[in-house]
Symmetry: C2
Subunit: 321 residues, 2 copies
């Protein structure tokens, strides 16, 4: 089975459970706004990581589905609030929540998703000790995600950002939730502390690779596959790791911060960033994080689930959107 099939197989029970665990209640508008982006798809990568981690430590994945839903809802909550903060009108090919239900609606939908996420974890089928730990991991992670988003906004107002600062930002904003997903899967599978930590590191490091590689995909993937405009980060003048490296090496594509770009200008950007070694630098760094993440799984006995986790780690790089 391909890794995409493995991810998809795990998304089926998660999608079914979302309908049970986040039904439309009163007031219906609040629940429709809350379900809008959840139901719009998404790869369900984080739930897949949670469920595979759970299987890999010998857990009963049926009992971990609720926690997988919780992690997906928590992820969606951050998307809904981020879209308000970043004034992004589109998410997963649909109008962002705040463009339909207003800012207040977006804020409340996000708050509801987050609350439901923790509620669902605390009502899962496991021992109180494990559920308490799982809930604690989820909310501690959310504090870090807030820190990461704060840094991201802060960087937009600064003239320069150091590589280390950027890495701290994406670690908090993106990577730790992959870590949390893997660790929660392990905790609910009754893994010991050391194994839980290894799974957390696996998720965090591969999540870093995932986010770093996003810079490459953004520039090199055609819009119709990417689902958003090719090169949008460059055009918007974002200081991604790719551009931090480029600017440090005196390379500046014409399209950078231009607000718009022709296909020729996007190609020029690819050429400039290839020549400066920036694309290679970012690709290699992403690969090295993913490889370091994969090595953390040496603690686990061989199993199909372990193979799935390793394949998901590779997929972080081989995906094209």
């Amino acid at each position: 089975m391909t890794v995409i099939d493995e991810i998809k197989n795990r998304s089926v029970p998660v999608d079914n459970a979302i309908d049970t665990l986040l039904p439309v209640k009163n007031p219906p508008g609040l629940y429709e706004a809350s379900r809008h982006i959840v139901k719009a798809g998404g790869k369900r990568l984080r739930p897949a990581v949670l469920l595979a981690a759970n299987e890999a430590v010998g857990g009963n994945p049926d009992k971990a589905v609720s926690a997988a839903v919780a992690v997906e809802l928590m992820h969606t909550f951050t998307l809904v609030h981020d879209d308000i903060m970043d004034n992004d009108p589109v998410r997963r090919g649909l109008p962002a929540v705040h463009t339909i239900w207003g800012e207040a609606g977006g804020i409340l939908a996000g708050d509801t998703l987050y609350s439901k996420a923790v509620e669902i974890i605390t009502e899962s089928d496991a021992e109180p000790k494990q559920l308490l730990k799982a809930a604690n991991i989820l909310v501690k992670t959310c504090v870090e995600v807030c820190e990461g988003q704060w840094l991201d906004i802060d960087f937009e107002n600064r003239d320069s950002v150091f590589k280390e600062e950027y890495l701290e930002m994406i670690e908090k904003k993106t990577a730790v939730l992959f870590g949390a997903a893997a660790q929660i899967g392990a905790v609910l599978g009754c893994a010991d502390e050391k194994t839980g930590q290894a799974l957390y590191d696996f998720g965090r490091l591969t999540g870093l690779g995932f986010q770093i590689y996003d810079d490459v995909l953004d520039l090199t993937t055609p819009s119709e596959i990417l689902g958003k405009r090719q090169g949008s980060d460059i055009v918007e003048g974002k200081r991604t790791l790719l551009m931090i490296h480029a600017l440090e090496h005196g390379a500046k594509p014409k399209a950078f911060g231009k607000g718009d770009a022709t296909p020729e200008e996007i190609q020029e950007a690819i050429d400039v960033l290839t020549k400066s070694g920036s694309l290679d630098y970012v690709k290699n760094l992403a690969v090295s994080y993913v490889e370091e993440g994969k090595s953390k799984l040496d603690i686990l006995p061989d199993s199909n689930a372990k193979k799935v986790l390793l394949d998901i780690a590779d997929y972080m790089l081989y995906r094209n959107f």
Copy 2:
């Protein structure tokens, strides 16, 4: 000791614990924004209810202080997000968070406060089973608070609101968090299910009285005591229970929805709403909820803590701001 002293005594350990449990970390701006309204005071009524409920069931209040902080942070989170949604520039006499750190800052500060609230509960000093229950109560309550705020916003766009709808809205937006505070105190004090439920009902019912009585205070308390403009609900055209009753009885003060009012017009509003029986109606309803709430404490043996809870219930009405 007066009830104000009893509340104040319980606020001291809570305020000390806030500094330990919500320190300024990196990025400092996020934590300063998160602490802004928490540190601006507030009566700490909900923490006092939690701690007194804990004492009343024979708990060790030292172990319940963290949970009391959690409930206060959760309350503050709702204030910070509400101020963005309602575009309110002032809170507790200070500029609202979003007026200083922007909307994004306000959203993130709220999300952080909420996350820290649950984190603090899950890391408290009690058995996992009790902490899990306490965390579950807190986040389920937050879902209801979101529902209540959604209804509140919805009502602003409607021509008429029924009394039952208004009561459902304030029950969710305000009363349930008092219920949660009392129940969490009971749960952490190892009270049985029935006692926990009685404490929840005590908090919920007195919380209803508290919020209903707010309409009276808003109109009849001079601005310098109230901390905001006297009669602001009337002037802003809010459909509070007071106005729902008045409009149902054909009474409409000149100041209603006028945007501004002279002291004479405020006095006219008081006269009109006295004559229509609306002020009496609201006062009596508030009293009846508080009395019903107090009766729920019959389940508890007599103690100083029980007396404090009963006094706090009365204070919900005798307070003047």
